[in-house]
Assembly symmetry: C2
Homo-oligomer: 540 residues x 2
């Protein structure tokens, strides 16, 4: 196939000592997250990360920083995102990296970057403030837009801009177009002018059109940013704690998640185990080794591994194991602690929600297999509800059961703001409350009757039916399946985040395939070379 | 460019005597719209329209039928959509036609087909009932889903199905996936099973999963369908009238719209003129020659001509002319008559709304040019609000004005359900009411101040600025512009129709470019041949 590039295995298991491009300093309740990308710091050879441009490696560091802000620094109430490289804030995703990446890599790079940006906006996170102290273009401005506030230096030259359309023939696809009109509520015609003007808007014009929230001259800059951060920190009403937990690398030895890749086939088996012990009385002491964190870190890692290192695994078979009562006890403990104001419980829930949304965002088919000794209860039932299909083994004695709990009521809402249960029963909303009121285990027959699973199969049919379903799925066009899943996973109305993943990303995927962007004379291909791009000007 | 096919000019100016594939019979308040496509009736050579499959020609006839149901047959309260070809209802869009069409043609074919289906769902239209009297696949089932009710014959063999994903590696992209989960509220995992099962569901299974609303055995079929139609007709509460108006062909000589194509350039000039006379006291007598119908028929035709016959015109310069007072008098007359229950006024408004939504749906850049002697008032102001940018000439004496009217308050809502004014001022909702309360003309300076136009330019700047803007726009990648416009034209939450055009269509566009569908060994390319499609199984 034409588009297979030699992309090396991506590693997500990093720690601050590995960071090359970001620094995080904490001063009281205000943190400073500064970008300074070394030009030779690219994830693979072939491009230079000039002008604080980023590749996936830089973005994995940002993701790691966000995790550490979440768990290691709970005293932080505001985070100032800025640049330590002179004369530039951030010039966005590196064009040469994009131009030399395969289509699946590009798409997954954008998705991962989007997810980190959405994490900045979670209500459980401190207030992020972009202190744009130099030119800020493309993905740089998209990062700024993911912050709650954008401050731009008024120095006569620094501007914010989205030059993708005029310069590269692609979209500001990391949420840029959506956040512009949905989140920042910029008027659509001003957005049009802005997105087609490569040089962007400087302070005055940017402020007038709502592209930034405040500007300061160079002499007032430090003071202005500090005062804004102080004000934001004082107004922050989310989780805070006095001391964080340690955040060690995840390492290679996982305790709760196993990812088995069938070498010959196109299916991967992902099994996640419930907690082995009752919830601890002191979550803080358990730290990152607490099941609720550890298991979801492993799950997240498995999802990211699949996305970047195993493009050909188009179907994920999701299984769970463990004791349902123990798992539900953890759910309850976490929710009770969160309700009582425990920052660690609140942040853990936010992290679990973020991870489950990554499941919804997988462009892979997901089949949940509810077998004997499975543990699809509470938060693990969300995995079945996130799956495209659910097969449940119908045992003779009715011991194979699923169980609902408070975790299924919206704590772990999807990107469209609805619970997975409400999304599933979009046509029968009255059922959601009924099901949440259900006490006790639900066996296979009842689960099928209630619509909680796609089908239940007894031991005569189970093996054959599941095998055939897997084989059939693995034989279909991966593109058509991705498109289909993206349209039926999320029913009904959409909001900003859903519009980013469903509308913006779809158009970007399309554009990333078009000769006008990626052909021999496409804009991405010839960027930086003397040739001008050559366009087929027919509109579709 | 690789993808230029020899597609002949498409003609939309048809009348029932041209119909080859549809028949419309009216019996009292119930109409019967039956499909019987001649195999050799294709719009161009190279494919046979077997099994009631359709191409654009068949769909233009359906569009014409919908127009005639709207205006010629106001006594109709229910329409039974069925097949007159034995042993099949409709097998969807013709695969060989799709396989041999260029990308822009395919995309515009789907959009036009989608728009006709959305028209069936308008509240001003009679109740459409799909009487599925034989196998119903792909676009056939999508047509059925656009009806208010689907009845399926229970004959042991007829089924409804969406075989696109398993057989063709494309999506059911004419609203199918969206209507399944949004409108029919089918459970997402059942939708998944259905959309990957080429043979579909027969009566019992289809009814159980909400894929159809009723089934009758062969012996009860006629009676069952009649009774359902009778019941629907009795329950219909939309516009009705005793006698319709004549609906002549539009012809080549237009009275109100001029479309000028700059042969060398990539811009088209579309100018629409307001009414020359005061509104008639008897709309019925004026018939299809009434300005409110005639001008919008010409506008619709111009838009369709641009879409299918002038792919390279990427920028439309929209101008208006006429007397604002006269136009606003027409707006008022139409609205008053509609409020008083006049069916023709109600249906005219529905048609105008449909046409303005076609403007929103243009995958072309739209610049409104508000020049001297322009007539951007009331319903014509919607054209400026639909544009990506609006340039207003600032004259010395302040005579160049725009004017709001009741037509701007939501009568002509967009696909997302919002008025264009509310969509424009998504960030300043309070402004919408203020603006609607404005009496009298608004000059260029005030219009810019109020945010109604993008910029006002005096005679020193006008010519150069507009010329540069046009040249710049025409130089950019048409794909990137389409993607950008699709993301910033519609702010905020989305509903079913918006999800069809923004999410479903974007994914389909992407898939229509992918080698897995359209490559040498893609599923669309090899369909019907002995070869099996060859897929690149990497997921993105």
């Amino acid at each position: 196939m034409a588009d297979v590039k030699n992309e090396s295995k991506v590693c997500f298991d990093i720690a601050p000592e590995d960071w090359k491009s970001w620094s995080l300093t904490v001063d009281g309740d205000i943190a400073r997250l500064a970008m300074k990308v070394p030009e030779d710091g690219g994830l693979r050879p072939g491009y230079e990360l000039k002008l604080n441009s980023y590749d996936l490696g830089v973005d994995i560091e940002l993701y790691d920083a966000v995790q550490r802000i979440t768990f290691v620094h709970p005293q932080v109430r505001a985070v100032v995102v800025t640049s330590d490289l002179p004369r530039v804030f951030c010039s966005g995703a590196n064009i040469y990296m994009l131009g030399s990446s395969s289509h699946p890599f590009k798409v997954n790079f954008c998705k991962f970057t989007n997810e980190t940006r959405c994490a900045l906006e979670e209500p459980e996170m401190p207030v992020f403030i972009a202190a744009v102290n130099g030119p800020c273009a493309g993905g740089g401005y998209e990062l700024a837009m993911a912050c709650e506030q954008i401050l731009l230096i008024d120095d006569g030259s620094s501007a914010v801009s989205l030059p993708e359309v005029p310069l590269l023939a692609v979209l500001p696809g990391t949420g840029g177009l959506t956040r512009l009109v949905d989140k920042r509520k910029v008027r659509r015609d001003l957005a049009d002018v802005f997105c087609t003007k490569a040089e962007g808007f400087k302070a005055r014009e940017a402020l007038k059109g709502r592209f930034v929230d405040g500007t300061f001259t160079r002499s007032k800059w430090e003071e202005g940013v500090s005062a804004s951060a102080r004000k934001a920190a004082d107004a922050y009403s989310g989780p805070t704690g006095e001391a964080g937990i340690a955040w060690p690398r995840l390492g290679e030895d996982w305790n709760f998640v196993s990812l088995k890749l069938d070498d010959d086939g196109r299916a991967a088996s992902l099994t996640i185990a419930g907690p082995k012990e009752a919830p601890p009385t002191d979550l803080q002491a358990a730290g990152a080794e607490a099941w609720s964190i550890r298991a979801f870190r492993e799950l997240e890692r498995a999802l990211l591994e699949l996305r970047f290192n195993h493009f050909e695994k188009g179907l994920i078979l999701v299984r769970t194991s463990g004791d349902q009562e123990t798992l539900l006890a953890w759910d309850r403990a976490l929710h009770d602690a969160a309700a009582a104001g425990d920052w660690l419980a609140q942040r853990t829930i936010a992290f679990q929600r973020r991870t489950l949304r990554r499941v919804d965002n997988m462009s892979r088919s997901l089949f949940a297999l509810i077998e004997e000794d499975s543990c699809f209860a509470g938060i693990f039932l969300e995995l079945a509800l996130a799956a495209d299909r659910t097969y449940m083994f119908l045992d003779d004695d009715g011991e194979n059961c699923v169980r609902l709990g408070p975790a299924n009521g919206g704590t772990y809402s999807m990107h469209n703001g609805r619970s997975r249960l409400a999304n599933r029963f979009y046509g029968e909303p009255e059922k959601v409350g009924e099901l949440l009121g259900t006490e006790g285990p639900i066996d296979a027959e009842e689960a099928e009757e209630l619509g909680l699973v796609t089908m239940s199969l007894d031991d005569i049919d189970w093996e054959d039916e599941v095998r055939i379903a897997v084989e059939e799925r693995a034989s279909m066009s991966p593109d058509a399946l991705t498109g289909m899943e993206q349209n039926i996973r999320f029913a009904g109305g959409e909001g900003t985040e859903n519009r980013i993943y469903g509308r913006l990303s779809a158009w970007q995927n399309w554009i990333f395939q078009r000769p006008n962007a990626v052909g021999d004379q496409g804009a991405l291909t010839v960027y930086g070379q003397p040739e001008r791009p050559l366009y087929d000007f027919r509109r579709t």
